[in-house]
Amino acid sequence: MSDIVIRAEALGKRYRISHRRERRGDDSAYDSSPKHEDFWALRDVSFEVKRGEALGIIGRNGAGKSTLFKLLSRITETTEGKASIRGHVASLLEVGTGFHPELTGRENIYLNGSILGMSRAEIRKKFDEIVAFAEIERFLDTPVKRYSSGMYVRLAFSVAAHLEPDILLVDEVLAVGDVAFQRKCMDYMKRLARSGITILLVSHDLFAVKTMCRRVLALSGGRLKFDGLPAEGIDLYEKDSRLEADPWAAGIIGEDIDQWPIIIRFVELLDADGSPRTVYDYGERMRVRIHYESRKPVRHPNFYLGIRRPDNVVCCSFSAARDGATVPTLDRSGVIELLTPPLRLVSDLYSTYAGVWDREFKNLYCGQIGPNFHVRDEVLNQHFGVFHVPGEWRWGVNGHKNIGSGE
């Protein structure tokens, strides 16, 4: 007996997209293009998953992640290839599927449980656990249509999480609920993984993927581009996403030069010595190069760099005007460089975004998403706060004896 629970061999899914044949106005001839076009949402995807593995699946929108899940959970049929599966598969494609708004929390637990494949006896056994996990005891007999969205999501996740399948497919469900609950869900999934349940996780939340999974698959355009360690896969995905960010910026900026007089072409992250980096140690300095192109002279552009955590908390930011720098009037392309003080951020994945304001932060001239980076530290993580700055410690009431500072 080998320990492989999923074996996908050259899986593919084709959709037919129909186009409307339109009369051409000028010569009233019919468009000669075919009426149907084939679109491969997924093609030639092969991989194996072992029992108890936590596998992350990443990729941009439309890369085929959800299609892969739909095939594995038998919601839709494959067009080619095959997949062999051992054990019971449960999928959490969208929390709350099958909830009926008119029914109470109690009734929905039974309904949702049975839709997801639990027997009545199983649900009854798990009932208290589900309610406790969702923290909705007081509202058990309230119709879920009156629930807050947080309660709704908590209940839905809780039912699905107590399924005890052999293989659990999780699609983007961690993007909901408050941060505390997200953390709880993640801890719970880690516990499931430890107990031998195989977990496949689709997420755009790279932090979640990184902490949950020992291996990732990166999909792009319906094809499997990478299968291996999370750090490498995430790197690849980020490169892929950056390609996406450029056209986005070009699109949003538009033609109005008065409104968007300056464009940020791209942002580079380097170490203090000037070589490219994506991982920094706690306390390291970061050099940021912002490549801009000014389409019209801009007086005193106020360059700005923000650093954001995966849960969208802006942890810190730098601004030329705030930091006492006066940038001269810019009228062509160029680079502006920022050397940060030693970064005191705790270890996590961060994203950057750059922008140009006027000196008073009244007008935003442009904005662009920059690369992501990791901060690495053995000890300091989110439990220590957003950042950590060492303090001075003294012993005794009046503190006459300095016992050292953190540096």
């Binding site: 007996m1 739909k70 839709t76 290839g81 997949a83 599927t97 009926h100 008119e102 299968d227």
Partner: protein, 287 residues
């Protein structure tokens, strides 16, 4: 960066529970259906529960609704239409005995044909044997039918007209009604997924069906030579059977017609299952 895992030669000893492959007739289907058997119950339970949520008199509607429907139809057909009744049977009972299966058939058909679309979010998000959805709708309607059957019993006591041994054959005719509603429902709900036209066609079928079935009249007013063709409407056999079983055989039941109805129902059921199974794999893609 291309780095795909290499698939080793499959060892003979490996056993997978499930093989997902294009065009594969799933041998697990009927086993899955059995595994998900409680879902029949839960979906029906949900539909019944939801129907009477936030109503003042609650579940009492389950009694009031069919009773009022019966009252209206009995009045229309016995007072307004003035159709002749055979033997000593009170006209109201004659109508009621026919309304009973008809009401079941028409609501079951209507609900079943819209069932897949109504549960589109489930279909596109979760796997379970899809057959459960239309079947669940028929079961929901069946619960209403049982309640109405209780009303029928009350009416028979009221008129002092009690059934004889023939009552024991009622389950057979009930099964026939169930089968024809289920079979037709399967066809219509599967077609409805792709062609929403059926959403408008079904109400017509139900409306015309009422006049094409011997609900307000007795089927012996149909000319003798047309009887067999007439019985191709499966509800003819069902309604005649209900009358025969409930009204001490005072309303006639002809064997050839009954057999024709049974045959049509069987064909409807089997072909319905065949068509449903053939198309259900694409439901999630096109719904």
């Amino acid at each position: 960066m291309q780095e795909q895992s290499v698939i080793p030669q499959q060892a003979e000893s490996e056993r997978f529970d499930l093989l997902i492959e294009a065009g594969r007739g799933e041998k697990n289907y009927w086993r899955d259906l059995w595994r998900y058997r409680e879902l029949f119950y839960f979906l029906a339970w949900r539909d019944i529960l939801v129907r009477y949520k936030q109503t003042a008199i609650g579940i009492a509607w389950a009694l009031v609704r069919p009773f009022l429907t019966m009252l209206v139809f009995t009045f229309i057909f016995s007072r307004v239409a003035k159709l002749p009744a055979p033997g000593s049977v009170p006209y109201a009972l004659l109508v009621f005995a026919a309304m009973l299966p008809w009401q079941f058939f028409s609501t079951a058909l209507g609900e079943a044909s819209n069932s897949l679309i109504g549960n589109a979010n489930l279909i596109s998000k979760v796997y379970f044997p899809r057959l459960i959805v239309p079947a669940g709708s028929v079961i929901t309607s069946f619960v209403d039918f049982l309640i109405t059957l209780g009303l029928m019993a009350g009416m028979m006591v009221w008129y002092g007209f009690l059934p004889d041994w023939r009552l024991l054959t009622l389950p057979l005719f009930t099964a026939l009604a169930f089968g024809s509603a289920f079979g037709a429902g399967l066809w219509l709900c599967a077609l409805n997924v792709r062609y929403r036209d059926f959403r408008y066609i079904v109400p017509f079928i139900v409306q015309f069906g009422l006049y094409l079935s011997p609900v307000g009249f007795s089927s012996n007013i149909v000319p003798e030579r047309l009887r067999l063709i007439y019985a191709c409407n499966p509800m003819v056999g069902v309604i005649d059977g209900f009358r025969w079983a409930l009204l001490r055989g005072q309303s006639p039941l002809a064997a050839p017609e009954l057999i024709a109805s049974i045959l049509v129902t069987s064909v409807l059921c089997l072909s319905g299952i065949w068509y449903f199974r053939r198309t259900e794999k694409t439901f999630a893609d096109i719904i």
